[in-house]
Amino acid sequence: MDTNQLMVLGEQTGTYQALIVSISNELFAIPLSTILSIENVAVSELSQVDNDDVIYLRGKVIPLVYLDRVFNMEPSPKKENLSVVVCMYNHSYFGFVVDSLNGQKEIETKSLGVLDDNDFFTGASILDDEVALILNIPSFVTEEVRNG
């Protein structure tokens, strides 16, 4: 894997590319610089390590993060195939399970004001009429993220 990626910690200034995803009917933005790949995985292909769902990808074991559970949102509809956005931070790999991929956009981080001390989000982005929350990728590594 080519590691010539600029890893920007915390808030990014100016505009940057992000992948827009939908989970439980809410939009989230994932900075493109943190994304390794997007995989389509059959549920039957999942393995478990320590009761957590994982996938094997190019020799690596990648734990899955179900944001609808982490954020106590409406559970996503069960499907046979999962869309997984594989991210990396500081040599840690994990995959976000998303309901749908809504394309790539150039976005700007807008502060959440008094809510900007939230560990999981670096801010928000306004897309057409909807608000997408921008995931703070490092927070999913430093915290013990347990599903369910």
Partner: protein
Amino acid sequence: MAELAIYENITENEKRYLVFGVKNEKFAFDISNVNNIVQMEKIRPVPCAPKCYKGVINLRGEIIPVMSLHTKFNLGDDNITPNSKIIILNVDEDKQVGVIVDNVKEVLTISEDEIEKPSPFLKKEESNVTGVSKVKDSLISIIEVNSIM
């Protein structure tokens, strides 16, 4: 929404207050803290935020956190009607926070003598009410904006 015209204070110890309703009670903010009043609109939930914050709204390109006073004051769930409004308050010099209210009533001029401290017997441990005023046969609880943030 009618423009809120800010005039000079008539006398030194009088202030203008925006009076609004939350679950059959009347409350008021010092109008100098009020930036704007907008219609109720779709709120984008923010996970892992303090419970009283329902999320954020997009107000003409600005992201503004919105708080539920029903939740903040432990009055049960919000009851959103066509009269519900979001009062946008100025906090912390440069930030804004919206609060959901059941209705916005009027702007009243209240002088300091008309405001009483809340009775120590009725005061709960963490009361946000800094004063109570009796105007036109109803009680209005005055909320200091910074105390609810």
